[in-house]
Amino acid sequence: MNIEEQLQILSRQTCPKQVDVVDAVMAQVRRKPYLRPAHRTALWRTVALTAVAAVAAVVVFNVASFRSYDEEGIGRMMAYVSDYDYYASVETAAVNPIECLYDDETAETIE
């Protein structure tokens, strides 16, 4: 007798196994209800909206700070440049740079 015939006999002989797992399964199912598709969609929508809102907030904040920095910064720089020009012109006109060299120990001007 070949393997296939033996397998057929074994198949015929093997008794079915009687079970009743309805109550046990339902008890487990009631304990852990899964996330239903509608809930899952709502969850993903919330996550996506939160992410978009966070990115938008960061962008708006950065643009706003850049603008204020830009305005203040340019103003401050212009004031600094004009002050510098003023003092530079005064110093150049009034003081000979060589006279401004002092000996630290004797506190005399080095000629």
Partner: protein, 177 residues
């Protein structure tokens, strides 16, 4: 009520309808589980596990195939997972069998040899690799076509043919020894 309607009700939140699905398919799942893992004790436990896994997987069911095919797939996956976890051989020695009608062509001695051969075959099935045993059980015991086995095991038709061929070859080798 058809399976599809019941599944839709469950997905809509009527969890209690799931009892009907379990009632309809528990015997099919238990029989396949029993033939795949070979012990009566584990069959009930694994059957329960299969239905819990099925419940969790229901939202993935696309209604383009039969619910029974989906259940077979989950049964096969759950049993293989369980066997891999316990890393043990399947012992089909525990198959509960009804005696075959004695053949009028066989004398008493031939009858004993015949029974011994079947015992050897049962042990050999238990020693097959999980994939080979699954394909063989579905083909021989559940009368599945190659295409149905390919659907359940999520592999190609050629692989199913190869698995069944190798399973039979290995059985023949082990039974001869």
């Amino acid at each position: 009520m058809e399976d599809k309607e019941i599944v839709q009700k469950i997905l809509a939140g009527d969890t209690e309808q799931y009892a009907e699905i379990v009632r309809r398919y528990q015997q099919i799942v238990a029989n396949l589980t029993y033939k795949l893992c070979g012990t009566r004790l584990e069959t009930e436990e694994v059957t329960q596990q299969v239905f819990v896994e099925l419940y969790m997987a229901l939202p993935r069911f696309r209604f383009d195939s039969k619910l029974s095919s989906f259940i077979y797939r989950i049964t096969v996956n759950t049993v293989c997972k369980m066997l891999n976890k316990s890393k043990r051989y399947v012992s089909t020695d525990e198959y509960e069998t009804r005696p075959d009608d004695p053949s009028p062509d066989r004398n008493a001695e031939q009858e004993i040899i015949h029974r011994e051969q079947l015992e050897q075959l049962r042990t050999a099935i238990g020693h097959l690799k999980d994939e080979q045993r699954t394909a063989l059980v579905l083909y021989t015991f559940e009368n599945f076509s190659y295409q149905q086995i390919a659907d359940v095991m999520q592999c190609t038709l050629a692989k199913v043919e190869s698995l069944i061929f190798r399973a039979k070859k290995n059985l023949a080798k082990e039974v001869k020894q």
